[in-house]
Amino acid sequence: MPVLTEPRLAFIVANAPTDIPEDPLMRMQADLARALKKPLEQRRWVMVIDLRKCVGCSSCTIACVAENKLPPGVVYRPVLEDEIGTYPNVTRRFVPRPCMQCDNPPCVPVCPVSATYKRADGIVVIDYDVCIGCRYCIAACPYSARSFDNGRYYTSGTPQWQAYEKLPNFEYGESWDRSKGDSPVGNARKCQFCTHRLDAGMLPACVTTCIGRATYFGDANDSQALVSHLIGSPNVTRLKEEMGTEPKVYYLV
């Protein structure tokens, strides 16, 4: 087994390729830091998902479930699978579906108590302390991007109710303890672009975890941001454009 001696290391460094493109995560991290220096209302968060790169591994779904400690029946970012063509000319397409964070969100006007609203930076959020759980917003979302938290647990019916399931989650930067049946149990829940992570200078969990670097995130008001370049491509599209919802999640096809 070769030992990594001083001269060997020097050789590797000297011969390392110099044209490796920068990891998009590093670039987006820098984009994020720049955006966070601006006031909230000057940021316009968008997500770009490159369907040509998505391999359908569902890591983003799982990262999201772990990050937000989602219970059974609640999912913020499923990956839809679609089969295209007929054998032998057949392929599969994978479409991750977070909340579209619409500019015209159909879920917002229907809320009878204004518990859900669009923040100044465009993220559609839910005030868990106000939501009465009528589920009108779930019915009104054209993307099925909202879930209802029925109060279930994955392991509550098993011999050992796992302690990690009773840990609080930190959506919206607060500590939410479901274990006593309090909010967000009985609430509508949705993807919020991991606002709690953004506030801490971190990219959303789905972005960080994507093994194919197929998910991009950043401030579209920053012309130097990676996402700004991507959404200017001719192959960009959005889901159900005809609804007039103006989603802030873009797909590259």
Binding site: G73, C111, N150, M243
Partner: protein, 413 residues
């Protein structure tokens, strides 16, 4: 019709006892043992709510024929119609209250109403409607309360309290009551149209659900309300109406039966319009819901329960046996009960079509499915709520002067 009344007591008590388990499960375990969830967020309780609130609006609008429009043929059943409307409203609101994820926050609806939401409007329109119903019923009953005050025991004391000290039953006072009732009834017509049309609009405005998203939706809600409310009232009048066995009683039931037949045919026409236009234009999302209704796993609900038992049988009965009050009342009951299927066929098929291709299998779990059938808990709690309403009706019928045959002559004067 004493036998029917006894039967209803039996049904109500059994439903109250058996259904209590559903209420217990809802309170103890929240929304765990239910079939609705993230993809089909509304189920039986929402369907029952729009059905029952429609019954209330329908019964109330029939009462306005008496108080606002002075239809003499129905004069004796105005109070019964109002009382039916109040009970149905209470039952429907209780259903939707327990359907909420956070019933304890219901007051937020008043404290921070969003008037851009149809549901925000609902809370105010319902409150106004409830107040109007109570005030109107009180004025309709005031003279009877005074008359019953002389009775011994609990019923007499209750009547005395409920007069609230206003014991003037001179011809002038009664006439004042009557004109006030006319004002209240007239105010009630636009209010009832607004709130139940509003329930329809609550569905109609949802652009994401093409099956609901038509201008016909609020209109169908209103006609359906008149039909189901009128049909139930026909049965209620048959069983509880004043002067049982008299020609007057028979005429009233038969007259109501004829109104119901007309409404039934109008409702069928609207349904035809909705389905024929939708199916012909073949917009996939719209057609998908209709195909679920017509040919899906629950097609029997549409063809058997609605078309068969809710339209064809009662229509034939009302056409060929409509002159018999028992047949007319029975047809009314059949229409009223089966109308729940119409409301469920609005709520669930609108939601049971995946909005995005591949969603059904993308991530699964309880509530992340497009199959819906109410669980035992859902059925039992609904049975408990309706049984409680039925008990309230039966008790009210006994202790309040809702039906007062002995004053039949006095009311004419």
């Amino acid at each position: 019709m004493k036998i029917f009344e006894k039967l209803l007591w039996l049904v109500a008590i059994i439903g109250f006892v058996v259904g209590a388990y559903g209420l217990y499960d809802r309170i103890a375990n929240g929304h765990i043992n239910v079939s609705y969830g993230s993809y089909i967020p509304w189920g039986l309780w929402v369907g029952a709510y729009i059905y029952l609130v429609g019954v209330s609006a329908g019964a109330f609008l029939i009462s306005t024929l008496v108080y606002a429009f002075g239809v003499k043929k129905l004069e004796k059943i105005g109070k019964l119609a109002l009382f039916t409307a109040i009970i149905a409203l209470g039952v429907s609101l209780f259903s939707i209250w327990l359907d909420l994820g956070h019933p304890e926050r219901a007051l937020e609806l008043v404290l921070r109403t969003n008037f851009r939401s149809m549901m925000g409007w609902m809370i105010w329109l319902y409150s106004a409607y409830f107040v109007l119903l109570v005030v109107e019923l009180w004025f309709a009953l005031r003279a009877d309360f005074v008359a019953w005050s002389a009775r011994p025991g609990f019923v007499g004391s209750l009547a005395r309290i409920l007069t609230f000290g206003r014991r003037d039953v001179s011809a002038g006072a009664v006439a004042r009551d009557k004109s006030l009732l006319r004002v209240l009834g007239s105010l009630g017509v636009p209010l009832a149209i607004a709130f139940h049309g509003g329930v329809g609009a609550l569905f109609g405005v949802v652009g994401a659900r093409p099956y609901w998203n038509t201008g016909l939706t609020p209109i169908m809600f209103l006609i359906g309300a008149l039909l189901s409310g009128g049909a139930l009232l026909t049965f209620v009048v048959l069983v509880f109406g004043p002067n049982q066995g008299s020609a007057e009683h028979r005429d009233t039931v038969v007259f109501l039966g004829q109104i119901v037949l007309g409404l039934l045919l109008l409702d069928v026409l609207l349904e035809w319009a909705e389905y024929s236009i939708g199916l012909y234009s073949a917009i996939p999302a719209d057609v998908a819901s209709m195909q679920l209704v017509l040919f899906g796993p629950f097609a029997w609900v549409f063809w058997g329960v609605h078309v068969g038992l809710g339209v064809v049988v009662p229509a034939l009965v009302l056409i060929f046996r409509g002159k018999s009050p028992v047949w007319a009342g029975g047809a009314g009951l059949l229409i009223a009960i089966t109308f729940l299927s119409v409301r469920l066929n609005i709520v669930i098929p609108g939601l049971a079509v995946p909005e995005l291709q591949g969603l059904a299998n993308a991530f699964t779990g309880p509530g992340l499915t497009f199959d819906y059938f109410p669980t035992l808990t859902e059925w039992l709690m609904q049975i408990w709520i309706v049984s409680t309403g039925l008990l309230a009706f039966l008790i009210g019928y006994r202790i309040l002067p809702i039906v007062t045959p002995e004053r039949a002559g006095a009311a004419e004067a």
